[in-house]
Symmetry: C2
Subunit: 426 residues, 2 copies
């Protein structure tokens, strides 16, 4: 058992500081070059999908409800709609298959709301003020889209059950300029939190002041479990919305980016018939169709929801040791020191770490100085502004176990170093 | 030699009408179902690219300047930039590789101009009026994009050399609300016209009243020759623009949609360094990258510009007989009758036909009634409004030669029928 830093005398702290400082300098002298910054699958995870590249050949049959090789089919081929619908627990009629990037689909939803409006409502570009609720910590690329369009972003603290719903309801139900909310409802980025049934019900029961209020329900990690025996589950948002007369309130997104190949997967939007019609009224002018050969490739490789589950279990086998390694190192190195807290998620791609207030930027900076790139401190908040300067997102999937062991240990050294500097007023 | 209809007496016309009417009714009784409406490659053209599906397998090397299987590379992989740059006669630094649809790239350019503005200029959504010049007849899907965004479209007549440049200059140089012009400069859709060197020079020498005036130079048919010995060539618009201080005026688009597989190809934007920077400042928020595996597949299959030329010659061998068949039938059936004119293009995907004024809609409608779908009359004009109601776009590539022979003959019967009805005031 180590003594928590706050219980140490000045002399003890100074002694500890000189030890940690030396440890840190040792790491620095190693000229490391490691990366724990982005939620990227590792090369061995990508290898899992290499057999997909043998699925379609020069002699394959490319005919489905349409010749997949030619123009057409802007809503996607029937088989791909079925596959993605099963994965997203919706009806295939409520699906549009898009290209390789669900982020692009979300961008287009916001862009179209600005320039054309949603379902005949006033385009957001004509309004004085457009606001989005942003559960924090959250996904930097969500916030980047709304920042790009000049949306005012309001941080909503995350609880163990999801976003603070009292606060959400206060904004959504009373402020007509609140037009949207970003959500990663399952294994959230970066916390790994899955919204509780009660939270989902409360979201569905919102009474938005704005007719065109929409929730972007980015179900990016819907099948991305880490454990076989500990799996979160998420309530069906559409069924709950239907009960509350909010059938058109949610756009759900998912993709195969972290199932097969990031950048060469397929993405899908699931939403109400009204929204499908509204979105297709844009898509029709935007493209003659997305990549149907890649849709077919995915369908023939993954087959069905069982196929996806089997494939995701292989990912889990590669990811699990990495999460456990980092969590073990955090426990061992920081467990008793009371200078940080972290979550143990059951799925997703991140470990969310909270340092003592005012330390995150320095920790990330120290890690970088010693050759380990972390996600920029503040990135998990709108405008990169973490008011407490405490949240750090750890992405353990990309490095090898060996690299990760070094990177995670160095990280804990940086946490100790910066915490000691704070306590010692250095 | 047949007698031109206008030189016929009323009796002769009536006699001819009863013959043609019977001929038309014979076709109707055949219950045909043929399609000459869209510029789609035929299945045998698609077969030419089937070997591309054997290029990448589970044991291929996916490493280029980046692991093509993972996230990243929003501007495209180096090899794909080189390939598309060579095809578009520009420097690879001036290229961004996008997804499967150049139409989508054009849509995004217009959408972004509306919501964010081009290079810091006022977003078009904040302006009272935005106008685009539309050379006519032109591509319906271009016009559809600007119509969707509420742009006022101004028709510019096409000459043998390209758009009427006196008219273009008058608008562009004097009206600040003229923000853009659609161009298909080579083997234009539907005329098959390639802009003359003088036209390209005049375009480059425009002195736009609007700082953010942009030409969308859709070079969709840049390698799409029909003949080996008769090939149009297009002057380098960028070199000419540079000479005139208009380096940022042109966005050039191209894709492999009609080289490999429509819907599963790759597209590219070629433009100035300033425009690249401006466009990337959006793309960065829009996506983590386009499909790099498909980029790699295309590079390894097509190899280089010579590879593209060899592949396009195979397409030409399949397309040429179809163009010649239709042109022969038009010559034989309508050559002497003075009831229509048409072009004999050296490339592209269309034959443009002009009927007597006021007959196009009826001709297309009669053809449809007899089971042959043509592109809707008027589609080649903004707002589907062909003021003379005379232009019809014939797309000969998709049907088989046998089908095409029937469809083209029926088309000439419809032209005769409707022309006779006009002359006889029926």
């Amino acid at each position: 058992m180590s003594t928590p830093y706050v219980e140490m005398s000045k002399e003890q702290l100074e002694k500890e500081y000189s030890i940690i400082k030396e440890e840190y300098n040792n790491y620095k002298s190693k000229n490391l070059s490691l990366d724990m910054s982005r939620g990227k699958p590792s090369p061995d995870q990508l290898d899992l999908s290499l057999p997909m590249m043998d699925i379609l050949t020069g002699t394959s049959d490319y005919q489905t409800d349409i010749d997949c090789r030619n123009y057409g089919g802007p809503q996607g081929i029937k088989e791909a709609k079925k596959l993605m619908a099963d994965m997203m627990s919706v009806d295939p009629d409520n699906i549009i298959i898009f290209g390789n990037s669900s982020l692009n689909v979300m961008y287009d939803i916001v862009a179209t709301a600005f320039v054309k409006g949603i379902m005949g409502n006033t385009p957001w570009s004509k309004l004085d003020k457009v606001k989005f609720l942003c559960p924090v910590p959250g996904y930097d690329r969500h916030f980047a889209i709304t920042e790009y369009f000049g949306v005012e972003m309001i941080s909503i603290p995350m609880t163990e059950d999801g976003p603070d719903m009292d606060l959400v309801a206060e904004y959504v139900n009373n402020d007509e300029s609140v037009k949207g909310m970003w959500c990663v409802p399952m294994y959230s980025n970066p916390l790994g939190t899955t919204y509780s049934d009660e939270t989902v019900r409360k979201i569905a029961a919102l009474k938005p002041a704005a007719k065109d209020f929409r929730i972007i329900w980015d179900n990016a990690y819907c099948v991305h479990h880490i454990y076989e025996d500990k799996q979160d589950s998420l309530l069906d948002i559409f069924a709950e919305c239907d009960k509350c007369g909010n059938s058109d309130m949610v756009y759900m997104l998912a993709s195969t980016s972290k199932i097969t190949f990031p950048g060469s997967g397929i993405s899908a939007l699931a939403t109400s018939a009204n929204n499908i019609k509204d979105v297709m009224s844009r898509v029709t002018w935007q493209t003659i169709g997305h990549d149907k050969i890649n849709q077919l490739r995915h369908v023939r490789f993954l087959k069905d929801l069982d196929g996806i589950r089997i494939h995701m279990a292989k990912h889990a086998d590669l990811i699990r040791p990495k999460f456990e390694l980092v969590l073990d190192i955090l426990d061992k190195e920081l467990g008793d020191l009371n200078i940080g807290t972290w979550k143990k998620p059951n799925g997703g791609y991140f470990i969310s770490f909270d340092s003592m207030d005012g330390c995150a930027k320095s920790i990330v900076s120290k890690a970088k100085e010693a050759g380990v790139v972390m996600t920029g401190a503040g990135a998990t908040y709108p405008y990169h502004n973490d008011p407490k300067d405490s949240n750090i997102r750890i992405a353990p999937t990309y490095p090898s176990l060996e690299e990760l062991s070094i990177a995670a240990k160095l990280f804990t050294v940086c946490v100790k170093l910066v915490s000691l500097e704070k306590l010692l007023n250095i």
